[in-house]
C-alpha cells in the first residue's frame, strides 16, 4: 500500500557493482517506503538477482559506486549478518542444501541469533517447537520438515516455502524475494503468496524479483520496475506487469534507448 507519509525504508542511488571485475549493476536508483510492495522484472541477465544479493551483502560482489541507505543507516557498511539482524531478508532463488544440519536446528539458531541482536527473548528448544509449528501452519508445512536436513532433498516448492518460513521467523523490515515463484506449481504458488501477504504489514516492505506476472496475481505490487543491463529503465504500477506479460520486454528497452538518444 502506498502512503505518502510512510517512512522511507530503502534508498538506493547510483548503485554499481561488479563480480570478477565484470560490471553487472550500472547505476540503480530505487526508493522503497514502509508498507510498499515493489516488483522488479526484466529479462535473464539483466542484473535482478545480483541486485538482490548485493543488498543482502553477498561477498562475491564488489560495490564500486553509489549508496544504499536502509532505515537511515549506511547499509553497505554492514556485514551480511548485521543486515539480517537489522531487518533485511533475502529469500534465495536457490537455497543451499546443507546435509546433516537439521532444518529445525538451523531455524532456531537463526531465530535466536536475530532475537538476541534485537534485545528480544530467545526461545529454548521446546518453546521454539511450539512457536515454529504455528508459523508452519501458515505455509501448510508438515512438522516433519523440522527433522529433515536443511533444504537437502527438498523439492523446489518445499525450498521456497522454507524460505518464506524464515521470513516469518525473522520478521524483517525489508524482504527481498528472489524469484520465489520459480519452480512452484500453482498450489504451492498460492500457498507461498498467501504466506507473504499475511506477513506483510504497513511497517515493512517487500521487493519481489520475478520473471513472470503470475506471482503478481497473488501479491499485488504498488510499483513495477523493469531492469535491463544493470539499470532500472522503467517504472510503473501493476498494469505495467500485465503489459509486459502481453508484449514482452523489447519495447521497454527500445523506448528507453529512444529516450536516451
Amino acid at each position: 500500500m502506498i502512503k505518502d507519509n510512510a517512512p522511507e525504508l530503502l534508498d538506493v542511488q547510483g548503485l554499481t557493482a561488479t563480480v570478477d571485475s565484470r560490471e553487472i549493476l550500472r547505476g540503480i536508483d530505487l526508493n522503497v517506503r514502509a508498507g510498499e510492495v515493489h516488483a522488479i522484472m526484466g529479462p535473464n541477465g539483466s542484473g535482478k538477482s545480483t541486485f538482490a544479493k548485493v543488498l543482502a551483502g553477498h561477498p562475491a560482489y564488489q560495490v564500486t559506486g553509489g549508496m544504499v541507505r536502509f532505515d537511515g543507516a549506511d547499509l553497505l557498511e554492514l556485514s551480511p549478518e548485521d543486515r539480517a539482524r537489522g531487518g533485511v531478508f533475502l529469500g534465495f532463488q536457490y537455497p543451499v542444501e546443507v546435509p546433516g544440519v537439521t532444518n529445525g536446528g538451523f531455524l532456531r539458531l537463526a531465530y535466536n541469533t536475530v532475537q538476541a541482536a534485537r534485545g528480544k527473548e530467545e526461545l529454548d528448544p521446546l518453546e521454539f517447537d511450539d512457536f515454529i509449528r504455528e508459523k508452519m501452519q501458515l505455509l501448510e508445512m508438515d512438522p516433519d520438515f523440522l527433522e529433515r536436513s536443511l533444504n537437502a532433498g527438498f523439492s523446489g516448492g518445499e525450498k521456497k516455502r522454507n524460505e518464506i518460513l524464515q521470513m516469518a521467523l525473522l520478521e524483517p523490515r525489508l524482504s527481498i524475494l528472489d524469484e520465489t515463484d520459480s519452480g512452484l506449481d500453482i498450489d504451492a504458488l498460492r500457498i507461498v503468496a498467501n504466506g507473504v501477504n499475511q506477513l506483510h504489514t504497513s511497517d515493512d516492505a517487500i521487493v519481489l524479483v520475478t520473471h513472470y506476472q503470475r506471482l503478481l496475481n497473488y501479491i499485488e505490487p504498488d510499483y513495477v520496475h523493469v531492469m535491463e543491463n544493470g539499470r532500472i529503465i522503467k517504472t510503473g504500477d501493476k498494469r505495467l506487469a500485465l503489459e509486459l506479460e502481453d508484449r514482452g520486454y523489447d519495447w521497454v528497452a527500445q523506448e528507453y534507448r529512444e529516450r536516451a538518444a
Binding site: 561477498p59 562475491a60 551480511p80 549478518e81 543486515r83 539482524r85 536475530v114 525473522l170
Partner: protein, 478 residues
C-alpha cells in the same frame, strides 16, 4: 573470505605442556639386548620374552610400508628410546597416593580423574607414558568377574589368558609396526569380560605421551566371552614439543559367540605447529576378530591429532552372522596427514559390515580414506554398506578416497557411496544472511556432517569430541 577460513583453523594446541616427572629411560637404540632389558625390567615370564624376540627377529627382515598417501622424513629407529617408566615413589593403593604432579596434569586436560570416574561411572586405567599408574573401579568390576588392568598386571596375574590371545588377531608378522610393537611394547590395557556378563560401565583409558623422544608402544587386548558385552573408550592427548614422536600401538579385540565389543577413540595428540614442525607419528594397528557366531565389533574413532595418522581399525568376521562396524571422523588441519580407514574381511555366512567415514580437511592438510571390503568365497549372503564423505575447508587441502573391493562370493551385496563437499562461500552466505556468524555456521555445518558418526559415541565422549572439533577449526573459515 579464505583468510577467515584460515584463521578458524589456526588454534594453538591447548594441551601443550610438559609434566615434570622423573622417568626411567632406556638408552636410545634397538637390539635383542634392549628387548631383553625391557622384558627384564617388567619381570616377564620366559614365554613373553620369546614372543618379543620372535617379533624382533621378524621385524629386522621387514621394511616400512611405503603405500600410504603420506610423506615424512625417514625414521631412524636406532635414534629412539624404547622404554620409559615414571619412577614409582611408592605402591599406590588409592588416588591419594598418586603423584600430585600427575593429577595436576589431568586437571589441565580437564579430566579430573577421580571426579570423572566417580561422576561418570567410568573406570579409568590411566596409562601415563608407558606404565599404568593407577586403576580405579577395579574392585567393582571384579565383583562381576571382569578383569580390567594394565597389560603388565595381566601378564603377572592372568598369564594363561594373555598367552592364549596375545597375537591371535594381530600376529607379530602382520606388518612392520605391529612387529615393532610386539618386540618392544611397554604396557597397555587388558580387559576380559566373562561369559554372559554385560560390563556395567564404560571402560576408559587415557593415553598420554610424556617423555620427549620416547616412542609409545601400547598393547591393548580385549576379550569378550560368549554373550559378553563391553564398551571401551580410549582418549589421547599429548604435551607439545618439537621432536617427532613415533607411536605404534597394537589393539586386539576378540568377540566370542554372541559377544559385543564397542571400541571408541578420541585422538588429539600433538599435531605439530602451524608450519608442520613436530607432532606425533601415529602408526597403529587395530583389529577385531568376530570369532563367534552373532558376535559384533564396532569401532568409532574421532581422529583430530597427530602429524601423521596411519590407522585402519578392522574387523575379521569369522563367525556366521557376525557384524562389523566402523564409524570414523578424521579431521586434518595445517600440515597434518591422515591415511585412515578400515578393513572388513567377511569369512562367515551372512556376515554384515557397515562403514561410515567422514573426512574433514582444512589448511594445507591431506586426508585419505582407505578401505578394504573383502568377501571370502564361503561368505554366503554377506553384506556391506560403505559411505565415505569428505569435506574441504578452504582450497589448499586435499581429500582422497581409496576404496578396495574384493568379492569372491556371488551372493554378496556390496554398496559404496561417496561424496565430497566444500564449506564454501554460498553455504556461509546463506547462514550469514540469516544473522548467523561464520564460526557458528561452520560449527553447525561440521556438526551436521559428523552427526552420523557421533551418534555412535558414548554420550560424554560425544560432548568432548564436539568441543574438540570446534576448537580444532576455530578461526579456519570465514
Amino acid at each position: 573470505m579464505s583468510a577467515v577460513i584460515q584463521n578458524l583453523v589456526n588454534q594453538p594446541y591447548k594441551h601443550g605442556f610438559h609434566t615434570d616427572i622423573e622417568a626411567d629411560v632406556v638408552p636410545k637404540g634397538l637390539s635383542e639386548d634392549v628387548v631383553r632389558v625391557i622384558s627384564a625390567k617388567k619381570n616377564e615370564p620366559e614365554w613373553l620374552l620369546e614372543f618379543r624376540l620372535k617379533a624382533f627377529r621378524h621385524w629386522q627382515t621387514m621394511t616400512e610400508p611405503k603405500w600410504p598417501n603420506v610423506k615424512y622424513p625417514k625414521i631412524d629407529f636406532q635414534d629412539i628410546s624404547y622404554y620409559s617408566a615414571p619412577k614409582p615413589k611408592a605402591t599406590k593403593k588409592s588416588m591419594d597416593e598418586v603423584d600430585p604432579e600427575l593429577l595436576r596434569t589431568f586437571e589441565k586436560l580437564g579430566v579430573p580423574m577421580h571426579e570423572r570416574a566417580a561422576l561418570a561411572g567410568v573406570a579409568v586405567d590411566v596409562v601415563f607414558d608407558s606404565v599404568s599408574v593407577t586403576t580405579t573401579y577395579k574392585e567393582k568390576l571384579a565383583e562381576v568377574g571382569i578383569i580390567f588392568c594394565s597389560f603388565s598386571e595381566a601378564v603377572r596375574d592372568h598369564p594363561e589368558l594373555v598367552k592364549k590371545y596375545l597375537g591371535s588377531v594381530v600376529p607379530h608378522t602382520d606388518n612392520f609396526y605391529a612387529a615393532l610393537n610386539s618386540a618392544v611394547f611397554s604396557d597397555g590395557s587388558f580387559c576380559y569380560i566373562p561369559k554372559g556378563v554385560k560390563c556395567p560401565m564404560d571402560l576408559s583409558t587415557y593415553f598420554r605421551i610424556n617423555t620427549e623422544e620416547t616412542g609409545q608402544f601400547e598393547r591393548t587386548l580385549i576379550v569378550a566371552e560368549e554373550g559378553a558385552q563391553v564398551s571401551y573408550l580410549e582418549g589421547c592427548t599429548a604435551p607439545q614439543f618439537d621432536t617427532n614422536q613415533l607411536h605404534a600401538a597394537v589393539v586386539e579385540l576378540i568377540a566370542l559367540d554372541n559377544a559385543e565389543i564397542k571400541y571408541s577413540t578420541v585422538q588429539n595428540w600433538y599435531a605439530g605447529d602451524e608450519e608442520g614442525k613436530g607432532g606425533i607419528y601415529n602408526f597403529v594397528t587395530k583389529r577385531g576378530l568376530c570369532k563367534g557366531v552373532n558376535s559384533k565389533i564396532s569401532w568409532t574413532q574421532v581422529e583430530t591429532g597427530s602429524a601423521i595418522t596411519w590407522k585402519y581399525p578392522s574387523c575379521v568376521l569369522l563367525g556366521d552372522n557376525s557384524v562389523g562396524e566402523f564409524y570414523s571422523v578424521a579431521l586434518t588441519n595445517h600440515h597434518q596427514q591422515a591415511d585412515t580407514g578400515t578393513k572388513m574381511v567377511h569369512v562367515g555366512k551372512n556376515t554384515r559390515s557397515r562403514i561410515i567415514s567422514k573426512g574433514i580437511s582444512a589448511g594445507l592438510s591431506n586426508n585419505s580414506y582407505r578401505g578394504l571390503v573383502k568377501i571370502g568365497a564361503r561368505a554366503d549372503g554377506a553384506r556391506n554398506y560403505s559411505q565415505c564423505d569428505s569435506m574441504l575447508i578452504g582450497d589448499r587441502c586435499g581429500a582422497h578416497t581409496f576404496p578396495y573391493l574384493q568379492v569372491a562370493n556371488k551372493s554378496a551385496t556390496v554398496e559404496h557411496e561417496a561424496s565430497t563437499s566444500k564449506i564454501g562461500e554460498e553455504q556461509l552466505f546463506y547462514f550469514s544472511s540469516r544473522g548467523i556468524e561464520t564460526e557458528e555456521a561452520v560449527s553447525m555445518i561440521i556438526n551436521g556432517f559428523v552427526r552420523d558418526v557421533f551418534i555412535h559415541l558414548p554420550m560424554e565422549f560425544a560432548v568432548e569430541a564436539t568441543k574438540l572439533l570446534g576448537l580444532k577449526l576455530e578461526g579456519s573459515v570465514g
